[in-house]
Subunit: 214 residues, 4 copies
Amino acid sequence: MTDENHLLEEMLQEDANLTDKQKKILVAATEMFAEKGFAATSTNEIAKKAGVAEGTIFRHYKTKKDLLLSIVTPMMVKMLGPVIIKDLNKVLDKDFEYFEDFVWAMIKNRQEFLDKNLKVVQIFLQEIPFHHELREQFIEHIGKKVVSRIIQIVEHYQAKGQIVKLPATTVIRLTASTIMGYFAAKYIIDPKWNDDEEIDQMIHFLKKGLIPDE
Amino acid sequence: MTDENHLLEEMLQEDANLTDKQKKILVAATEMFAEKGFAATSTNEIAKKAGVAEGTIFRHYKTKKDLLLSIVTPMMVKMLGPVIIKDLNKVLDKDFEYFEDFVWAMIKNRQEFLDKNLKVVQIFLQEIPFHHELREQFIEHIGKKVVSRIIQIVEHYQAKGQIVKLPATTVIRLTASTIMGYFAAKYIIDPKWNDDEEIDQMIHFLKKGLIPDE
Amino acid sequence: MTDENHLLEEMLQEDANLTDKQKKILVAATEMFAEKGFAATSTNEIAKKAGVAEGTIFRHYKTKKDLLLSIVTPMMVKMLGPVIIKDLNKVLDKDFEYFEDFVWAMIKNRQEFLDKNLKVVQIFLQEIPFHHELREQFIEHIGKKVVSRIIQIVEHYQAKGQIVKLPATTVIRLTASTIMGYFAAKYIIDPKWNDDEEIDQMIHFLKKGLIPDE
Amino acid sequence: MTDENHLLEEMLQEDANLTDKQKKILVAATEMFAEKGFAATSTNEIAKKAGVAEGTIFRHYKTKKDLLLSIVTPMMVKMLGPVIIKDLNKVLDKDFEYFEDFVWAMIKNRQEFLDKNLKVVQIFLQEIPFHHELREQFIEHIGKKVVSRIIQIVEHYQAKGQIVKLPATTVIRLTASTIMGYFAAKYIIDPKWNDDEEIDQMIHFLKKGLIPDE
DNA sequence: AATGAATGAGTCTTCATTCAT
DNA sequence: TATGAATGAAGACTCATTCAT
């Protein structure tokens, strides 16, 4: 049982609607889907690992795919978290006067999210090419909202003259690529590795790269 | 039959060692593995799509996994291509006086590679989490060689004072993230989309971000 | 459904641990293995004959070979039966004063065993050349015990001066060959044939053949 | 390549009608059928072991079963050998005055036959339960002739007052069981083991056991 | 709510056999 | 005569799912 799972468990325990067996099923399925992939994991294996009867899985989740969605969907909803903020500009002005402060907070926040949801995010990334529901759910319920919110933010800092006046989507792409590249390296090399200097260098790179021309 | 497959076919035709049926099997398997994933594709489906008997697959590839590796391994080898250059520094000095020229050439070259090998690269990325052979093969035969070569290149431009003196691996990560982020966006949104202005902006961003401090 | 199978069924019914389907599978498999041999019998055929789904076989027996062993192993254990007697010499003195009495009892007892287990013994004999587990199981758990016990018995009658003082193993071989030759003839010609006169002649032959010289 | 196979090969070489490849096929098939059984041996394995293409087998033998019969049938014919003697009684009187001499000669002759044909005899015994052609061929062409001839012989010695006047088939059964029991023990324990004393004891046993009563 | 035996379609793979070369 | 690629039926075994208990 790894660190991430302790956190997963905590989250499950918060949800009063879940029976004990149900939680065990979700934990076992998460573990296996992450390790072997959805298609290569059998319900039999999940049942054994969860210590329940195979029938019990299907009492709670109509199909195997249902089980997958029950794992991935709530995580997607939680992805929304940090951008659902009312009166955004006020927050930005007060808490993050500079773009780099905002980026730094974003990185820290997503880092925490990833630490808590590593396995589920992994499943999400691994399975998204094969399940259009996942893709649509993500675009419709998450992607659009997040993007439109972040566009606002970028334009906020552009208006303040802090960053270059490229199209907001381009700025987002450049920033997101840099951050996600850092996370990818981190989780591939060593998920526990945590290097604030590395983050500082990255932010410095972003700041310089996005500085207005002239 | 899409564009990419025409190219795949061309490549297959060059290989005189492959029977006609074998080529059909490879084309069909590539198509299906990319679309549904390795584990969710049945050999029966592949046989039908290839217009051969199921037994024929196993005459040429001992197992289904063998078939996967027969598709992915040659592509990995071809990934080495652009970095196997003798007398590298001479090439750099003559052809790419500035770091930005090198990056631009790199992008164009990888773009071409991706256009030709899109499906196989897709399979590779989708399956790498589940097949340690793939991971090991990649690291051992490709990863190490490519990285060590690119480290040389980065240090070459650092020595010339063109880019910041961060650790070479950090420079590589920042650059690669930016480029791969661009490719990811491009292939998710529209594989045919080809925007040289976007590339110029990206290179400009990289140049500014990596400029030596002071 | 033949006579022997009625007896097989009886035995199965005694075993409370077996489900109804499991019994049907064992009966069907026994029938087919005896008739066509293990390798030439398909699990599909067994399932059909047993009136169960093919998957049901594999729920109870992990592999086809497992099924074979589940049929043959219990029979081997029952072969031990007649020689596991405490205080053997007392029994011999009281019940079988003469070697010929002992042989006669042995023949009758084994006859009964064969009548009850004909098919399984047949499978055992047919498959023993191809399955080393069978061979090893037989030698280790049955062969050694039986032989060492029978050596005692032979030496008992040799000590009483009733039979010739050849090596015990030689005496056993000569006796066993004669008896098994009789059984072989009986079951090849007509399993139901039961000729007490033939047995008497055989015992007379053995008695004369093994009489001490001088 | 064992001793027996050298002999098998010799026999094959005598047969001018067999091509080189055909001989290789027969040798390989004999080896494998003996070891794994007919049903569990694939034509692919045979082809590989023989160093020929799979198609070549089917050019010479219409079916796999054909191949089996081509191995076993000639051996059956050779079993007839020692009993196809004209003017039998003359031979018996001259060469084998006593029943025990005849039995001794028989044992030696069959021993030789077995040494030369061990693998094929093994195949024959292993496969006879599953192939009625084998059974019928054996009974019709071999069994009947051999039995009727040996009945004559037994009656010859009974007429001379040397052996007990039981039915000839009973005498044959008792004698054959004893001899075959010896062979069985010999080949199971060690095919090379050759103990003339053991044979003498066996013949002594038979002589005593079959001595006329009174 | 939970079980686990039962299912039969489906899995990957092997088979004996054919046939164009 | 010999080959070996090709076949498709059949092989052992696994799967997600159902249902009586």
